[in-house]
């Protein structure tokens, strides 16, 4: 089903932001919309957006490949993206990441067995004063979790697991 049929209101609102002769500008917000449910973009979704904006599929794929928040492969329901950049690392982010890995029994880049969490290390998230911190990217968008401990993180994961179970 095409994006315009599935989310008519959202697509119209996104297109209205840009001059009609420059509708290519809508590619980034449309990609977010297309990624919303599955957490990644397949070929059909990119073709659909290319057609809507009258650009080539390669143009769309180039955007997906360039920007780190678009994904062309399926991962866990939530991507847990821990900042391990310099300011966070000066406040223990690397150690936090290590303990998180051992608690979850996975390495950075891997997904938990239940398919809930993919753990990733990312660049600065502009929350350097609240390290250790991470963001979750999932069906409900992107959320920040700041001043975290491993215990608080495991509680969050348990809550996500519960809400996912209930949704099913």
């Amino acid at each position: 089903m095409s994006l315009a049929n599935k989310y008519p209101k959202e697509v119209k609102q996104i297109l209205s932001k840009y001059p009609p002769e420059h509708k290519r500008s809508a590619v980034m917000p449309l990609l977010y919309l297309a990624q919303r449910e599955e957490g990644y973009l397949n070929k059909a979704a990119m073709q659909d957006i290319a057609k809507m904006l009258e650009i080539t599929e390669t143009d769309v794929a180039a955007i997906v490949g360039f920007y780190t928040l678009y994904h062309d492969e399926k991962a866990g329901k939530y991507r847990m993206q821990v900042c391990t950049d310099l300011p966070c690392a000066l406040r223990g982010a690397d150690q936090f990441m290590e303990s998180l890995c051992s608690n979850l029994g996975i390495k950075v880049g891997e997904t938990t067995e239940d398919g809930l969490i993919t753990l990733e290390g990312v660049m600065c998230l502009a929350a350097c004063d609240k390290a250790p911190m991470f963001q979750t990217q999932g069906p409900d968008g992107i959320k920040y979790h700041e001043n975290m401990t491993v215990d608080k993180t495991m509680e969050l994961i348990a809550a996500l697991k519960k809400s996912t179970g209930e949704a099913k």
Partner: protein
């Protein structure tokens, strides 16, 4: 002193339209549209001495005056990409004092004759963008945005646009490419955006903090603003303090405040009472200031004074490094960042950051030879002055100054 930018710390609920209005909100914009010519607005900003807060420190009013009035339409783009490691000020402004920022966008738009403005937020600021969308809708409802504002022939729309995780989009021409629906890669300059910007039209790109200054400058006058800060750097600045300090956070202080006051009075001093070893005043893009003499901490933080220490103030993202940190580890971190964020357009930066990060990794992991340190320095120096944009240039800063000023840290980890 009452805050000028972080006013939510003095006035609760200033993120509510009614509260913002009660505290003088939107008067400056209304006054500009109903009583001033656009160039008069630009003149006030010019006379205030306001300089861009995104890092470059370019005089704001002068930039506005560069707008090409022979080519239309015009655009304003607010740079809310905030991605420099160590910088986290714009997010606090947008989350807590959003209307003052948006009023600044509106005033800038009127001054340069733009009827459409875009706020470009980094993709991670998903929640902030949704919040700003609500605030923009409230302003439209209240008649501060839309058609024929205040009964005058001036219309304005503000839109948010989310990036998707690319540091380079903070570079203004890469940002324009990104809004145009392309990969965020910098353009060759000149022409600069005030001549050829978004969709090839004259465009003014300003940082969030810069724009947030504007409503109060208009309300209180250029002289009021100029009285704060130093002759070279007028007004106040939000210093994002991070690293090995007890109380990291944003501190709004006049330009010219010393490092000592920021780190010890406001930041509570260094963790575990260690000594300051180095300071990065402009985030990961900084030269490393060597703090081998306690007196260095008494240097005032303004553009000119920080330069005397062989560094730039940039966006004033002050990362404090103490004696427990080895500089070979530190530059391995910054190089990892720049290698990841290099957009790949120019060869110097794409290859340079790749090879530099290889060498820093080798050195940090204890596999490096003494000659590797010289090789690293050589690569960094060869890159300087040859990159398409500041990213490549900045990636060399910590490397060059790290080796020049902290050579012992490298000698300790390499094989003879």
């Amino acid at each position: 002193m009452a805050h000028i930018l972080l006013r939510h710390r003095d006035i609760p609920d200033i993120n509510k339209l009614e509260v913002y209005k009660k505290n003088g909100g939107f008067n400056a914009f209304k006054n500009a549209v109903t009583k001033m010519k656009p160039n008069e607005v630009t003149d006030v900003v010019k006379n205030s001495g306001l300089r861009g807060r995104g890092g470059a420190g370019f005089p704001t009013g002068m930039k506005w005056a560069f707008i090409d009035n022979k080519n239309w339409p015009h655009y304003v783009v607010a740079n809310a990409d905030e991605s420099e490691p160590g910088t986290f000020k714009d997010r606090e402004i947008m989350e807590s004092n959003p209307f003052q920022f948006l009023e600044g966008v509106a005033i800038a738009s009127y001054a340069v004759g733009a009827n459409a403005a875009y706020v470009y937020l980094r993709g991670e600021f998903w929640q902030v963008a949704a919040f700003l969308d609500e605030k923009i809708a409230e302003m439209e409802e209240a008649g501060y945005l839309g058609r024929d504002l205040f009964g005058k022939d001036y219309s304005l729309k503000i839109h948010t646009h989310l990036g998707a995780g690319a540091y380079i989009c903070g570079e203004e021409t890469a940002m324009l490419e990104s809004i145009e629906g392309k990969r965020g890669q910098p353009r060759v300059r000149p022409p600069f955006p005030p001549a050829v910007g978004l969709y090839g039209k004259p465009t003014i790109v300003n940082n969030v903090e810069t724009l947030t200054n504007v409503p109060l400058i208009l309300a209180n006058g250029a002289d009021w603003y100029k009285k704060m800060g130093t002759a070279d750097s007028a007004g106040v600045k939000i210093f994002s303090l991070s690293g090995r300090v007890r109380k990291p956070g944003n501190y709004e202080l006049p330009f010219g405040t010393t490092f000592r006051e920021l780190i010890y009075t406001h930041g509570g001093g260094v963790q575990d009472s260690h000594k300051v070893k180095a300071i990065m005043p402009a985030g990961a893009s900084s030269s490393l200031i060597l703090v081998d003499d306690d007196k260095i901490l008494d240097t005032p933080m303004d553009y000119a004074s920080v330069r005397t220490l062989g560094a730039d103030l940039g966006s004033a993202s002050v990362i404090v490094v103490d004696e427990t940190v080895s500089i070979d580890w530190l530059i391995n971190k910054t190089m990892h960042f720049f290698r990841h964020e290099s957009c790949g357009k120019c060869t110097t930066c794409r290859e340079g950051t790749y090879w530099m990060s290889h060498i820093t990794e080798r050195i940090h992991e204890g596999h490096g030879k003494a000659a590797d340190v010289d090789l690293l320095l050589n690569v960094a120096r060869q890159m300087q002055g040859k990159c398409l944009c500041a990213l490549g240039e900045f990636s060399t800063m910590a490397v060059v100054t790290g080796i020049e000023r902290f050579r012992k840290d490298f000698d300790k980890v390499v094989k003879a």
